[in-house]
């Protein structure tokens, strides 16, 4: 019983809040353009579901492509920093610059570079920039996380630098890589949405555009419906990656 209550608690709170929202809207006669009741949001969700789903898929695919590219670039650079202290010294400050620059500030520039006919490329590039840092810093830390005595063992048997990376440092980095990708994936999704806002054009028809378009038309219920889809997608992505991390760690540790 306690267990059941434990698992139901977040749903119960959500239900209570939704109910309060619905009652407040009706009792206070709030105009629908200002705050529609949850029932109206549900109707909008049902009505626009196919469009919202298609938009969600576009945003998600932007985020996933960005994640894959960020993963490749970040891990390649982290490997270089692990192989050479000089490259490490050269790369790290630049990686930090990427981290502290707000993606929205980069958007206009990247949109110009991608070309006005290819805003989707700009979206991927911008989401990549956001997803890059956690994967890079995770990989860079992970590649240095091997047990110093294991490093000595590799010294003792005269392992080549590549051997050391492949057989010791990369496998030792796995938990850090899993964590970095989990954080990176969440950020890629946020980056994709922010980039869509930055692009703000009718050619980019992800969830952010749905929100902007609904906002321009004062379709507040549709706006909130798009937010709900975005929220559900974010939670699902996070849960999937959390699971992937658990399975990955179990495989790595052997239990």
């Amino acid at each position: 019983m306690r267990r059941l209550a434990y698992h139901l608690a977040p749903f119960a709170l959500t239900a209570v809040l939704l109910l309060a929202w619905e009652i407040a809207c009706r009792a206070l006669d709030v105009p629908a353009y200002f705050l529609p009741p949850p029932s109206a949001v549900a109707v909008a969700l049902a009505e626009h579901f196919p469009t919202l789903l298609a938009a969600a898929w576009r945003t998600l695919s932007t985020a996933l492509i960005a994640l894959v590219l960020a993963s490749l670039v970040a891990q390649a650079l982290a490997l270089l920093t692990a192989l050479s202290p000089l490259l490490d010294r050269a790369i790290r400050p630049l990686a930090s610059v990427v981290q502290v620059t707000p993606v929205i500030a980069l958007a206009p520039l990247v949109l110009i570079w991608a070309g006005l006919d290819h805003p989707e490329r700009a979206l991927v590039a911008l989401a990549l920039v956001v997803a890059f840092f956690p994967i890079f810093s995770g990989a860079a830390a992970g590649l240095r996380s091997a047990d110093p005595d294991l490093e000595r063992l590799f010294d003792l048997y005269g392992a080549s630098p590549w051997r050391r990376v492949l057989r010791l440092r990369l496998p030792a980095a796995v938990p850090f890589l899993l964590e970095g990708h989990k954080v990176g994936a969440g950020l890629a999704l946020i980056g994709a949405v922010v980039a869509e806002f930055g692009a703000g054009s009718g050619q980019v028809t992800g969830l952010a555009w749905q929100i902007l378009d609904a906002g321009n038309k004062l379709q507040t219920a549709r706006m909130i419906a798009a937010l709900v889809v975005l929220g559900v997608m974010g939670v699902a992505l996070h849960a999937a990656l959390e699971r992937l991390e658990r399975v990955g760690l179990k495989w790595w540790r052997g239990r």
């Binding site: 047990d147 294991l150 063992l153 005269g158 057989r167 010791l168 540790r253 052997g254």
Partner: protein
């Protein structure tokens, strides 16, 4: 014949002197214990003998070629992502031994340390004593001429410790590598070694050397013999004096 020797060796770190001047020669097939207080540079001496560190002054002479020296660290130091077998085969793999042969030799080494059947287990599935045996198997798989053990049993309970001490001597008898092991434990030193070298408080110098009578591996009841008791007492006294010095 000497397997490894330190002559007038000194090690100084930025924070101060760590070891020496120290002279120490390890003979072929000899079992030597290094005993001393914490921070006296025992582990540093071991790393010098292993060729993992260079002295600030003095000379280190080592006969073994690459791959003929093995080290067992204080913790088992196993790769958690590898099976016991793959951990043991690692030195062979790094030496370029073909995979099939490495696997066979790793299994044989695990069998020698009493872990037949645990080849596929991951380190996380092993007890502390078992993990230490895997570490020992990894050190022995290359049939080293010089085996260095850095407080290998410090983290284990007394019963496991004693069992492993006998196992190490049993394994020593098979191929007779020279063994140098570092320990805090005077009885362990007098039991396992044919020679006990006592170091002073850091920077460690030699406070005394003691030959321990009797054959290796030790016969049952060796710990009860007057010879063993006297040797342990003598080592203890030298250690106390070294700390006071």
């Amino acid at each position: 014949m000497t397997v490894a020797a330190l002559s007038k060796v000194e090690v100084r770190y930025p924070r101060g002197p760590a070891l020496g001047p120290l002279d120490l020669a390890i003979g072929e097939g000899e079992v030597v214990a290094l005993v001393g207080p914490s921070g006296c540079g025992k582990s540093t001496a071991l790393r010098l003998l292993a060729g993992l560190e260079a002295p600030t002054a003095g000379e280190v002479v080592r006969a073994p070629r690459r791959g003929e020296t093995a080290v067992v660290f204080q913790a088992p130091t196993l790769a958690p992502w590898l099976s016991a077998r793959a951990n043991v085969a690692l030195p062979l793999e790094l030496a370029g031994v073909p995979a099939a042969e490495a696997r066979k030799r790793a299994d044989a080494a695990l069998d020698r340390v009493g872990l037949a059947g645990a080849e596929a287990a991951r380190p996380a599935q092993l007890s502390g004593g078992m993990a230490m045996r895997v570490s020992l198997a990894r050190a022995l798989v290359t049939e080293p001429r010089l085996l260095l053990l850095d407080e290998p049993f410090a983290a284990l309970d007394e019963i496991t410790r004693r069992a492993l001490a006998d196992d190490v001597l049993g394994l020593w008898a098979a191929t007779r590598p020279a063994i140098v092991f570092v320990t805090h434990n005077v009885e362990e030193a007098a039991y396992m070694a044919s020679r006990v070298v006592v170091l002073t408080r850091g920077p460690g110098r030699i406070a005394g050397e003691f030959a321990i009578e009797g054959d290796l591996p030790r016969p049952a009841g060796f710990r009860l013999t007057p010879g063993f008791r006297q040797a342990a007492e003598a080592v203890s006294a030298a250690l106390a004096e070294g700390i006071g010095a």
